[in-house]
Amino acid sequence: MNPATFEKGMVFFLTILTLLVSSLLLIILATVFAKGLPALHSGFLIEASENFGREGGIIYQLMGTLILMTGAVLISLPVALGSVIYQTQYLKSETGKEICRQFAQMLNATPTILFGLVGYLFFGVYLETGVSWVTGSLILAVMILPTLQVSIREAIEALPDQYKDAGMALGLSPWSQIKTIIIPQCYYGIITGVFLGLARAAGETAAIMFAATTFSGIHLPESFSDPVPTLQTHMLVLTQEAANPEALAQAWSAGLVLLSLVFFLTVMAWILRSRLKMEAEL
């Protein structure tokens, strides 16, 4: 075969492959929509579930997911921000930085079910928060810590050196520099991290299924020791009931809502990140 034809053939083949892979998302999206929309009646988002989740809506499951992920970010954000600032602004030793980096990678790689089990035992049993949304938020907070750290670190490292030099020239103490330069200039980076963290927490099931969720009996938590129903575990229960068409339809609709939530958060993060890029280029 003549080499030019061969190359054209290969490139054509690769085009097809790439199209296939890209269409994977469309297939997944289309499937979730096609299966989820029919059961998505008008009240789905504002009604409580009935008959073991086979009928009704998912309002409280959705609220549970929102509470858990918000709690997680509220707990995680100060720690992530503080640790990154410490590592970039105060920590001088290269070994120290390397250790922190390794630990962050380790945390990022840890299988999520281990967060669930160890977290439950540590927070739920030793610190006596029990099976509750607090435990769930704490576990998710540890889980999304590296996600937040990466975004914040990127933003801080992208700051032009002149900013810091100017701050130093003005005689600002490190704290004043942080307060007046770093945090304001990085806040798109921080919020990008927040959204990515929220998205990651929203999609997680294994970490919270033992420690924070309940099947029925609770709508909204009324105290720190209450578990919440969540979209993820709701789906898990319904998925195991796949032979029952009603349950399956509800599972798809819940999946549609969950997927939309995650996609929304991710796209928000992109928008903010592109703003960050624009500012960095100015």
């Binding site: 073991f52 927040v194 099947f215 609770i218 195991q240």
Partner: protein, 286 residues
């Protein structure tokens, strides 16, 4: 933008707080997926009853119901992680010994049977009953094809359950005389009744074990043959005790129940509670 976001985050974060000072009473129930329908239904009704009785008080009783399996139920009530455990089997001697200090007390509310179930295709093909020996050989992997027991020429999908599940304990206790029997013939392991029902319904040559309430057109119960007599699974044979694999569905407390827990258990045993047992597809315990 940033402020809006912050506001949004804090708003969601504080939803649980305004009411957190007011600790309304709460009962936590964990355990068997077989008992779960009864518990869930009863919890819903009982909460409403309580509301009507004490509607002036802001203390609203809440009853949390969670699945997990009988083993989980017994374990968590004994360890004080829940108020009531649900079990679809007896507390095993080893559990009795292990949790001696918790003084587990069993409150039976319903009678159920564990059926040997097969996929509807096999049922249609003429398998209506099996002997205990045949079921045993299927689970041991000695019989691997339906034609060896008079069915179509198709391999058997032997569905087993997770080992701590109550249904498995009861079933294996009858088939092998040992609740934790080893079953080398197993092809697939499932967890909850729902999951097992799904796998058997999706398959066209499966055998498994399910609670009476989970039997439907796609998952058919077969009779147990003994010499020449066949015991089919009906309400009557369960009630009379003819069907060999029956069990009690119970709620378990650590020590004598009191307060709301006691009231809830009494409600379950009342005629109204027993009506819920019927609705869930089980036989009331008398």
């Amino acid at each position: 933008m940033f402020r809006m976001l912050l506001f949004f985050l804090v708003a969601i974060g504080v939803i649980p707080f305004p009411v957190s000072a007011d600790h309304s009473p709460k009962i936590e129930i964990v355990g068997s997926t077989t008992v779960l329908p009864i518990a869930s239904r009863a919890a819903e009704r009982f909460e409403k009853l309580q509301k009507i009785e004490k509607f002036k008080s802001s203390h609203r009783l809440r009853i949390l119901v969670n699945a997990g399996g009988s083993g989980v139920g017994i374990h968590s009530v004994a360890k004080g992680r829940s108020d009531i455990g649900m079990a679809s089997r007896e507390i095993s001697p080893s559990e009795r010994k292990r949790f001696e200090g918790s003084h587990l007390k069993v409150h039976t509310v319903a009678v159920d049977a564990v059926a040997c179930v097969i996929s509807s295709e096999i049922y249609e093909a003429g398998i209506r009953d099996l002997t205990r020996q045949e079921i045993r050989d299927i689970y041991l992997g000695k019989i691997r094809n339906w034609k060896e027991v008079g069915g179509p020429d198709r391999k058997i999908v032997v569905v087993d359950k997770e080992r701590h599940r109550g249904t498995r304990h009861v079933f294996m206790n009858y088939i092998f005389g040992n609740p934790t029997a080893k079953t080398p013939g197993t092809i697939l392991v499932t967890g909850s009744n729902n999951e097992e029902q799904t796998k058997i319904a999706q398959s066209d040559s499966a055998i498994g074990m399910l609670s009476y309430a989970w039997i439907n057109d796609e998952v058919r119960a077969i009779g147990i043959r003994d010499n020449k007599s066949i015991v089919n699974l009906t309400r009557e044979t369960i009630r009379k005790g003819n069907y060999p694999i029956v069990r009690n569905l119970s709620f378990i407390t650590a020590g004598e129940p009191n307060g709301e827990v006691k009231a809830f258990l009494e409600y379950l045993k009342s005629p109204e509670g027993q009506q819920l047992v019927e609705e869930s597809g089980y036989i009331p315990f008398t």
